[in-house]
C-alpha cells in the first residue's frame, strides 16, 4: 500500500512536471532554423525527396548508424542470453504439425512480403518508408515462416552474414564519405541523379538498402533466437 502511495506521489510529481511542459508548450508558428535548413537545402544537399529520410540517413546518419548498432547489439546479446540457457532447457515434446493450408499460404505470401519490404526500403528516399520499415517488413516474412513451421531450420549463418556484411558496408560507406566527400556518412559519394527518381540522392538508397537488409536480418535473428527457445 505504501508502495503504491509512493508510486502515486512520485508519478504525480512527474505529472506536475509534464503539466508544466504541457502548459508552456506553444507550437511553432513556423519552422525553426534546423527544419528550415532541411526544408530548403535537402534537395540541393542530398537530392532526396523524403526529407525525413535525408535527415535520418545523412544529416543524422551517425544516429542511424548507432540505431542499427543497437539492433545488432540487441541481437547479439539476445543470442548470448538465450544460448546461455540452452543447456538446462532440455528437449521438449513436439508440437502439433501446422496444416497444409498454412504452409501453402505462407509460401505464397513470403516472397511477396519480402518484395514489398524491398520496395519500401528502396523508395525510402522518395516516399514514406525506409530501411527500418522495409527491414521490419522483411522480418515479418520471417515471422510468418516461423509461425507456420516452427520446426523449420533456418540458416543462422546466412542471417549473420547478411547482418554483418551490410553493417560493414554501411561503415565503409561512411568512411568513404570521409575520403571522397565532405565527411563521415556524406551521401555525395555517388552521383546525385535526377531529383525524384529511384537512382538519386547519392548513397541514400544504397544505405537504406543496407539498413533494410541489416534490420531485416537482425529482427529475424532476434525472432529466431526467441523462437528457438520454444522448441
Amino acid at each position: 500500500m505504501i508502495k503504491r502511495a509512493i508510486a502515486f506521489a512520485l508519478l504525480a510529481g512527474l505529472g506536475l512536471v509534464f503539466l508544466a511542459l504541457w502548459q508552456g508548450f506553444e507550437p511553432d508558428p513556423s519552422l525553426n532554423r534546423s527544419a528550415l535548413y532541411y526544408a530548403e537545402n535537402t534537395v540541393t544537399d542530398t537530392g532526396a525527396a523524403n526529407i525525413v529520410a535525408a535527415v535520418i540517413v545523412t544529416y543524422r546518419g551517425l544516429d542511424t548508424l548507432g540505431e542499427v548498432t543497437v539492433l545488432f547489439l540487441t541481437a547479439a546479446i539476445v543470442a548470448m542470453v538465450l544460448r546461455g540457457g540452452l543447456a538446462d532447457s532440455g528437449p521438449r515434446p513436439g508440437r502439433w504439425p501446422t496444416g497444409e493450408l498454412l504452409h501453402t499460404g505462407s509460401r505464397l505470401l513470403v516472397p511477396l512480403i519480402a518484395l514489398f519490404g524491398a520496395y519500401v526500403f528502396l523508395n525510402g528516399h522518395l516516399t514514406p518508408g525506409g530501411g527500418f520499415q522495409g527491414g521490419a517488413i522483411i522480418a515479418s516474412a520471417m515471422l510468418l515462416m516461423l509461425l507456420t513451421d516452427p520446426a523449420r531450420n533456418f540458416s543462422h549463418r546466412l542471417i549473420a552474414t547478411t547482418e554483418s556484411v551490410s553493417g560493414l558496408a554501411y561503415v565503409a560507406i561512411g568512411l568513404a564519405g570521409m575520403a571522397l566527400a565532405g565527411g563521415f556518412l556524406d551521401n555525395r559519394i555517388l552521383p546525385m541523379g535526377e531529383f525524384g527518381s529511384i537512382l538519386s540522392a547519392g548513397a541514400i538508397p544504397l544505405i537504406y538498402a543496407l539498413i533494410g537488409l541489416k534490420v531485416g536480418a537482425e529482427f529475424s535473428s532476434i525472432l529466431l533466437s526467441l523462437s528457438e527457445r520454444e522448441k
Binding site: 508548450f25 534546423s34 535548413y37 543524422r60 551517425l62 548498432t69 561503415v171 568512411l175 565532405g182
Partner: protein, 1040 residues
C-alpha cells in the same frame, strides 16, 4: 593523423566483422577484438599526443558534409582526448584481462565489448544532444550485455535493475531533448548555452536532460543499481564501467553543464559532494570488495561532479583538478577491479592472499594511493589545487565536506589495505604472467600519470625531488638481501646529510642531524634482521625522504607534499608490526586528518594562491591568521599526538617492529614539532577573541604532558609505556615552544635532540629485551640485569637522562625549562606541567625495575644479551649522552646563538664552564665532577668494607622466615602503582578513546543504517531515480 571518428568506425567495423566469424574461431575473434581496441587506443593516444605536447588545435569533426547544427558533429579537445585514451585503454586492457571469459562466451560478447567502448567514445566526442542519447543507449544496452559475462548468478538481477533505471532515464532524456529542441530549434549542445535562463518549458527540459545525465554519474541516493552491477559484474567489465562509463558520463555532464546556467553549478556541487560523502560513508560498512570499489567509484565520480559544478570558481586549474581526479580514479579503479579478478574470495579479508606477491601489493598500494590522492600521484596535485581553488572562491564549507569525505574514504580503503597486509592469507594468487603484467602496467601508468601531472601542473614535480627518487630507488633494490640494503640505506642517509650539510640553517641543522645521521644510527639495529625484509627499506626511506624534504621545504606545497610522503612511509613502516593493523590504521587516519587540516590551513593562508612560500605565512591578514594558525597547529599536533589526538600513538609505536619503534618515536614525532616551530616562527602568536593561541597551546602541552605521563605509569606493556611517555614528552616540547621565549625554544630544541636519543635508546633496549623474552609485558620479565647488562646500562642511562636527574644531560633541559617559565606569566598551565613532572619518575622506575630488577623467571634463565646490532646503537647513544652531559655546549651554544637572532632577549651567557641565565646558573662540568667525586669516595668506602660480600641468589631474601614460592609470585611488578591508581585513577578515564570510538561508531552506525536504503528491489531503485529527479527539479526550479 586519422580522424578521431575512426575510433567509432573501427569499433563498429570490427564488431560487424566479428559477426562474420564462424563459431569455434574464438581465439581469432579475440585477436581481432584486441587488435581493434588497440587501433582505437592508438588513435586516441595519437590525438592526445597531438593535442597535448603537440599543441594542436581542438578538432572539429563534421559528418554528412554539413556544418553543425544541421548535421551531427564531433569534437576532440584535450579533455576529450584524455577521456578517449582512458576509455579505449581500459577497454583494451579489459579485453586482455577478460580473455578467458570472452573466449568462452564467444564472438558476440566481444562485439558487445567493442560496441561498449565505441559507444563510450561516442559519448565523449559527440556534440549533438540526441546523438549523445543514442550513444548512451548503446552504452546502456551493451552494459546490459556485459553484465551477463559474470559468473555471478546475481548478475542477472543486477542487469535487469539496471535496465529499469536505464528505461526511466531514457524516457526523461527523450522528453528533455525534444523540448530542448523545441526551444532552440537545434540539437547541438553548443546552441544550448544558457537555455535554462529562458525559463518555462525550456528550463524544465534542460533540467530533465541534466537530471538524466547526472543520473548516469550514479549520484547518491539514486545509485543502488550501479552498486549492484559493480558487485555482480565481471571485474574486467567493472573496470570499464568505473573508468570508462563514469568518465564518459562526467564528460557528458560537463558538456551540457553550460546549458544549465549559473543555477546548476551549485546544485551539481552539492550533489557531487553529497554523493562523495554519503558513498564514502556507505563504503565504511562494506565487506564485499567489489561493492566497496563500487561505492568508492560512486564517491569519486561525485567528487568530480562537484568539481564540474565549481568549474567557474576554479578557473584555470579546473582541468588540472578534474583531470587529475579523473585519471587517478580511472587508473586506480581499473587496476583494483582487475586485481579483484585475481582474488578468489569476495570478502575484503580474502585479499590477504595478495600478500604472497610483493609486486601485487605494490600495485595495490599504488592504486590506493592514487585513489586517496597521496603524492606523487595526480590526485594529490588535484586535491591540493581543488582545496586552494575552493578557498579562493570562498567555498570553505565545501573544503570541509571534501576533506571529511576523503578521510572516510581513506578509512575504509586503508582498513582494506591493512586486511591485505595482516590477515590470514589463504592460498597464493593464481595469476598468469599476463594478468600480472597487465596490473603492473596499469600501476606503472599511474606513476607515469603522476609524473605528467607533476610536469604540467604549476607546482614542483615531486617525482623530480632527489630525496623521493632515492627512496623510490629502494623499491627497485628490494630483491637484495636486507643487509645489503641496510648498508645502502645508511650510506644514503649519511650521503644525503653530507651533501646538504652546508645549506642548513641551525634550526634545520638540528632536525637534519636527527633525521639523517640519527636515522642511520637506528638503522644499525636493522643489521640484526635477516632475509630480504621486503618492503621495509622503501617505506623507511620514504619516511626519511619525507622528513628531509620537510625541513628544507620553501613553499607550502613542498611542505605539504613532504608531510604526506613521510606519513605514507611511516604508515607502511608501522603496518609492518605483527599486530599493528588497527593501530597503523588509526595512525594513518589521524595523520591524514591532520594533513587535511594543514592543507586547509595553507589554502586559507594563501587565499588559494598556488605558489605560497612558508615565509609568507607571516603576512597572513590579521583576520585570517588565528584560523590559519589553528588549522596548521591542529595538523601538526596530530603528529605530536597532543592530548585528544593521541590515541593512535601508543598502539602504533608499541606494535611496530623493534627498529621501527625508535624511528617513529625518536624521529617521526619531530616532524610535528618542526611544523609547530616553523608555524610560530612565521606567525608568532595570533589571538582569537582575545585569547592568545599560544596560551591555548601551553594548556594543551601541559595537559598532554600530565595525561601522557600518568597513563604511562600504569602500563604493563613496556613499549606502550614508552609510547605514552612519548606523548607526555611531546607535551613538554609543545609547552616549551608555546612559551614563545628564548629559553622555551632552547629547551624544545634540546629536547628534540635528547628525546631522539633516549627514546631511540629505550625503544631499542626494550625491543631487544622483548625480542629475547618473547613478550612485552614487563611483569613477565624481571631480573634480567645479570643476563643483559648492556641493555640495562642503556636503560639506566636513558632513564636518568630522561628524568632530568643531574648529572646527565636531561637535567640541562629541565634547568632551561625552569628558567624559561620564569619569564612567562602563564601560571595555570605551569602548575599542570609541574604536576606531570614527578610522574615521569614513576614510569621510568617501573620500566627499569620490572624488566631488569626483581626476580628472574624460570623460562628466562638462559637468555643472552640482546643481539649485537641492537645493542650497538644503544652504546653509541650512551656514550653520546655521557659526553653531552659534560659538554652540553657542543650543541647548546650554537642553538642558543641561533635563537638569539629570533628572540634576542633573555638568552644564556656562557661564562667559562658556567652557563648563566637571567635567573640562575649551571655548571655541568662542576656538577659532573662533584657528583663523580662523591660517588667514587663513597663507593671506595663501601668496597673497602664490603669487598668480600658473598654473592647470593635470587631466593636468598628474608621472607618472614619462609622462602619464596616461585619467581613469578615473588616479582612485584604488576599494577606497580596501585595506590596511585586508587588516588588518581579517575584521571585515566579514556575520554579521548571514548570520544573517537563514538565518532567512528556513529559513522559506522550511520553507514549501516543508511545502506538499508538500497533494498535491492529494482522498483525501489526506480523510486529513487524518480524521486531524485523530482527533488533535483524542485531545487533547481526553486532557484530560478
Amino acid at each position: 593523423m586519422v580522424s578521431a571518428i575512426s575510433i567509432i568506425a573501427i569499433g563498429l567495423g570490427a564488431a560487424f566483422l566479428l559477426g562474420l566469424m564462424r563459431e569455434g574461431r574464438e581465439a581469432l575473434a579475440h585477436a581481432l577484438t584486441v587488435l581493434a581496441l588497440g587501433a582505437m587506443s592508438a588513435v586516441a593516444v595519437g590525438w592526445l599526443w597531438l593535442l597535448g605536447p603537440g599543441g594542436a588545435a581542438v578538432q572539429e569533426i563534421t559528418t554528412a558534409g554539413t556544418m553543425p547544427p544541421f548535421a551531427i558533429n564531433l569534437r576532440v579537445g584535450l579533455t576529450e582526448a584524455v577521456a578517449l585514451v582512458m576509455i579505449t585503454l581500459a577497454g583494451l586492457a579489459s579485453a586482455l584481462h577478460m580473455r578467458a571469459v570472452l573466449l568462452r562466451m564467444g564472438r558476440r560478447a566481444m562485439a558487445v565489448l567493442l560496441i561498449a567502448v565505441m559507444a563510450l567514445a561516442g559519448i565523449v566526442m559527440t556534440r549533438d544532444l540526441f546523438n549523445l542519447f543514442v550513444f548512451f543507449e548503446l552504452a546502456a544496452i551493451s552494459t546490459g550485455g556485459m553484465v551477463l559475462l559474470s559468473d555471478d548468478e546475481d548478475a542477472l538481477g543486477a542487469g535487469f535493475k539496471y535496465m529499469i533505471v536505464a528505461q526511466i532515464v531514457s524516457i526523461l532524456l527523450l522528453i528533455g531533448i525534444i523540448f530542448a529542441y523545441h526551444a532552440t530549434g537545434s540539437l547541438n549542445i553548443d546552441d544550448m548555452g544558457g537555455l535554462a535562463a529562458m525559463g518555462g518549458g525550456a528550463a524544465l527540459a534542460v533540467f530533465l536532460v541534466v537530471a538524466a545525465l547526472v543520473l548516469e554519474t550514479k549520484p547518491f541516493p539514486a545509485n543502488g543499481w550501479a552498486l549492484d552491477i559493480y558487485q555482480a559484474a565481471h571485474p574486467g567489465f567493472s573496470a570499464i564501467l568505473s573508468a570508462g562509463t563514469g568518465t564518459a558520463a562526467l564528460i557528458a555532464v560537463d558538456k551540457f553543464a553550460g546549458a544549465g546556467g549559473a543555477a546548476l553549478a551549485p546544485v551539481l556541487t552539492g550533489l557531487g559532494l553529497l554523493t562523495f560523502v554519503a558513498a564514502n560513508l556507505l563504503g565504511l560498512a562494506q565487506t564485499n570488495d567489489r561493492r566497496l570499489l563500487g561505492y568508492s567509484s560512486v564517491a569519486q565520480t561525485g567528487l568530480i561532479l562537484a568539481v564540474i559544478g565549481q568549474r567557474e570558481a576554479l578557473g584555470e586549474s579546473y582541468l588540472l583538478i578534474a583531470g587529475g581526479l579523473l585519471v587517478g580514479h580511472a587508473i586506480a579503479k581499473a587496476g583494483l577491479f582487475w586485481l579483484s579478478g585475481l582474488v578468489k574470495g569476495r570478502d575484503l579479508t580474502d585479499w590477504a592472499t595478495l600478500r604472497r606477491s610483493p609486486l601485487l601489493v605494490f600495485a595495490m598500494a599504488t592504486f590506493l594511493a592514487m585513489l586517496l590522492g597521496l603524492p606523487p600521484f595526480p590526485g594529490f596535485y588535484a586535491k591540493w589545487a581543488l582545496v586552494h581553488g575552493l578557498v579562493a572562491s570562498g567555498g570553505g564549507a565545501l573544503v570541509a565536506l571534501v576533506l571529511i569525505g576523503a578521510l572516510i574514504e581513506a578509512g575504509y580503503l586503508l582498513r582494506w589495505f591493512g586486511f591485505t597486509m595482516k590477515r590470514e592469507a589463504s592460498e597464493a594468487v593464481a595469476s598468469t604472467p599476463a594478468e600480472l603484467a597487465l596490473v603492473l602496467a596499469v600501476a606503472l601508468a599511474g606513476w607515469g600519470a603522476g609524473w605528467i601531472w607533476g610536469e604540467v601542473g604549476p607546482y614542483e614535480n615531486l617525482l623530480r625531488a632527489p630525496a623521493l627518487l632515492l627512496a623510490l630507488a629502494f623499491l627497485l633494490l628490494d630483491w637484495l638481501p636486507a643487509r645489503v640494503k641496510n648498508v645502502a640505506a645508511i650510506a644514503a642517509l649519511i650521503g644525503g646529510f653530507a651533501a646538504s650539510f652546508a645549506s642548513y640553517d641551525p634550526l634545520q641543522m638540528i632536525f637534519a642531524a636527527i633525521i639523517m645521521p640519527g636515522g642511520a644510527v637506528i638503522l644499525l639495529a636493522s643489521f640484526y634482521e635477516h632475509g630480504r625484509r621486503v618492503g621495509f627499506y622503501p617505506s623507511a626511506m620514504l619516511m626519511f625522504a619525507g622528513m628531509a624534504m620537510l625541513i628544507v621545504a620553501q613553499s607550502s606545497f613542498g611542505f605539504f607534499a613532504a608531510w604526506e610522503v613521510l606519513t605514507v612511509g611511516s604508515y607502511f613502516l608501522i603496518l609492518r608490526g605483527k599486530y599493528s593493523e588497527p593501530h597503523a590504521l588509526s595512525y594513518v587516519l589521524f595523520s591524514l586528518g591532520g594533513a587535511f587540516a594543514i592543507m586547509a590551513g595553507f589554502a586559507l593562508a594563501s587565499g588559494g594562491m598556488a605558489n605560497f612560500t612558508m615565509a609568507a605565512l607571516a603576512q597572513v591578514p590579521l583576520t585570517l591568521a588565528p584560523w590559519v594558525f589553528i588549522l596548521l597547529a591542529l595538523g601538526f599536533m596530530t603528529k605530536t599526538a597532543a592530548i585528544g589526538l593521541h590515541i593512535w600513538l601508543p598502539g602504533a609505536h608499541a606494535e611496530a617492529e623493534t627498529d621501527v619503534s625508535p624511528m617513529v618515536s625518536g624521529i617521526l614525532l619531530k616532524a610535528g614539532l618542526f611544523g609547530l616551530m616553523v608555524l610560530m616562527l612565521q606567525m608568532g602568536s595570533p589571538s582569537l577573541y582575545g585569547v592568545k593561541l599560544t596560551y591555548v597551546l601551553l594548556w594543551i602541552g601541559a595537559l598532554t604532558a600530565l595525561i601522557g605521563n600518568l597513563i604511562a605509569a600504569f602500563q604493563e606493556d613496556a613499549k606502550r609505556l614508552l609510547a605514552y611517555s612519548s606523548i607526555g614528552q611531546m607535551g613538554y616540547a609543545i609547552f616549551g615552544i608555546a612559551l614563545m621565549n628564548h629559553l622555551g625554544w632552547l629547551m624544545a630544541l634540546m629536547f628534540v635532540i635528547n628525546h631522539y636519543i633516549y627514546k631511540s635508546m629505550l625503544f631499542l633496549s626494550v625491543g631487544g629485551v622483548a625480542k629475547r623474552t618473547g613478550t612485552r609485558l614487563m611483569y613477565k620479565m624481571g631480573g634480567l640485569i645479570a643476563l643483559m647488562p648492556l641493555s640495562f646500562i642503556a636503560v639506566l642511562i636513558g632513564i636518568i637522562a630522561m628524568s632530568g636527574v643531574p648529572p646527565l644531560s636531561g637535567f640541562g633541559g629541565r634547568w632551561i625549562f625552569y628558567n624559561a617559565i620564569m619569564e612567562s606569566d602563564a601560571r595555570a598551565p605551569m602548575i599542570v606541567i609541574f604536576l606531570s613532572g614527578p610522574i615521569a619518575f614513576l614510569y621510568l622506575f617501573r620500566l627499569i625495575h620490572s624488566i631488569f630488577l626483581g626476580q628472574l623467571k624460570d623460562e628466562n634463565r638462559r637468555l643472552r644479551e640482546a643481539p649485537f646490532w641492537i645493542v650497538l646503537p644503544q652504546m653509541l647513544y650512551t656514550a653520546f649522552l655521557l659526553v653531552f652531559a659534560v659538554v652540553p655546549g657542543l650543541a647548546l651554544r650554537r642553538v642558543d646563538g641561533y635563537l638569539s637572532t629570533i628572540f634576542p632577549e633573555h638568552g644564556l651567557n656562557w661564562d667559562g664552564l658556567t652557563i648563566r641565565s637571567d635567573y640562575g646558573y649551571w655548571s655541568p662540568v662542576s656538577v659532573m665532577a662533584v657528583t663523580v667525586g662523591i660517588f667514587a669516595s663513597v663507593l671506595l668506602l663501601l668496597v673497602l668494607l664490603n669487598h668480600r660480600a658473598q654473592k647470593v641468589k635470587q631466593f636468598n631474601i628474608v621472607y618472614s622466615a619462609e622462602r619464596p614460592f616461585r619467581p613469578e609470585t615473588t616479582h612485584f611488578a604488576w599494577n606497580f602503582f596501585a595506590p596511585y591508581r586508587k588516588a588518581l585513577g579517575f584521571l585515566l578515564a579514556p575520554l579521548a578513546t571514548t570520544f573517537w570510538d563514538g565518532v567512528t561508531g556513529s559513522l559506522h552506525g550511520a553507514a549501516d543504517f543508511l545502506r538499508r536504503f538500497y533494498t535491492g528491489d529494482g522498483q525501489h531503485y526506480a523510486y529513487h531515480v524518480l524521486g531524485f529527479v523530482l527533488v533535483l527539479i524542485l531545487i533547481v526550479g526553486g532557484g530560478l
